[in-house]
Amino acid sequence: MIPAAFEYHRPQDMAGVLAVLEEHGDDARVMAGGHSLIPMMKLRMADVPHLIDLQDVGGLSDIAVDGASIRIGALVTQADIIDHQALAAAAPILREAALQIADPQVRYMGTVGGNVANGDPGNDMPGLMQCLDATFTLVGTGGERDVPARDFYEAAYMTAREDDEVLTAVTIPLPSGGYAYEKQKRKIGDYATAAAAVQITKSGGTCASAAIAMTNLSDTPIYSDAAGAALVGTTLDDAALKAAVAAMLNDIDPTEDNRGPIAFKKHVAGVILRRAIERAWSRA
């Protein structure tokens, strides 16, 4: 498996990255860990005449946790997420999700930035970031802008990022309450048949707020406002769980593939969401 020839760029700073992007437009692609892009290049499903390796660009590998928010640089790897104690304390759902991504070798290389920017509906971080109401920072020749994760995904591999922009950081408001990232997959290393990210807060005995997002059940991650709303104000009794699952099923649009027919995926999505809600509630 030999990819098509390309010109390799390893700029030392973001100005260098943007200069190559400006010169070559959509003939250029940035690469972080490369564990989505390189397999696609080997299969010749991605044509990248100019490959920009971000590894020497400084300032993209930091995790910062303060009293109000978490900022994760684009080159932070899944392994970094798993190992970071302050992050695990502030937003344990990130560690729980990262541990369910791929395998150890891939987690050393795979980055948060690549996972969210690639737009692959199978990736776990996009749905998770929608659940957490994260914001993505994009830097381009025209300057910097922030896009909410819930507005970022347009279709498979199509996002709000322009060709001359680079996703540099993810900012997450400090989550509170119970959490769960539940993923059904055929084997370790596989993408989800269905996965659910749930973050719930409790007040008295009732649910005060609920954020729910689903992975790999449409051509984008699905943030289901209606599913969360079905839980708010309830004691999460069986009727509330059924209503949340029904609302979620109404929002997803799975397609048949080698992970199963549509009816099966909807069934699994319902089971996974119910488990995720129950686990998040037990931790709230």
Partner: protein, 164 residues
């Protein structure tokens, strides 16, 4: 487009310099250019782990890294871990506990296991299975691989204690 790049690698402590196309995958650099044939090509699709090497303290599937990305870095393969004259405790343990049958996955298994034991010196069976999940073996059923890694951990911890 087919411009060759000047590549510098340190492989198992030895500096290497050559010209290569950036698209060359590191596994081919090791095997075909440098004749370091310990890392194997199993699936070539980032799944099986037979090509695992260590770079910057990370276990990396060398079929999923361009030589251009690796330029300037130090790479360790199974050849840098131990050899026939001085086996690493993991190699001894795999031999002793039948941690292999055909042996094709073994270089990747042991290379990955060296990192696992650095990170978790005394792993449980569950931690070994989870930490080795990026390496596939089609012969053993994994039971003896787990046993071998446990035995090596015990041996290495005892040696460390004796040294202290």
């Amino acid at each position: 487009m087919s411009n060759k790049m000047h590549i510098k690698l340190n492989v198992n402590g030895k500096d290497e310099e050559f010209l290569a196309e950036p698209r060359e995958l590191l596994i081919y650099t090791l095997r075909e250019r440098l004749n370091i044939t310990g890392p194997h090509i199993g699936c070539e699709t980032s799944h099986c782990g037979a090509c695992t090497v260590t770079i910057d303290g990370k276990s990396v599937k060398s079929c999923t890294m361009f030589v251009a990305q690796a330029s300037g870095k130090a790479v360790t393969t199974i050849e840098g871990i131990g050899g026939p004259d001085a086996l690493h405790p993991l190699q001894e343990a795999f031999k002793e506990h039948h941690g292999l049958q055909c042996g094709y996955c073994t270089p990747g298994m042991i290379t990955r296991a060296t990192k696992l034991l650095e990170e978790i010196p005394n792993p449980t069976e569950e931690e070994i299975r989870f930490g080795m999940a990026g390496n596939i073996c089609r012969c053993t059923g994994y039971q003896n691989i787990v046993k071998s890694i446990q035995a090596a951990a015990t041996e290495m911890n005892a040696a460390k204690e004796a040294a202290e």
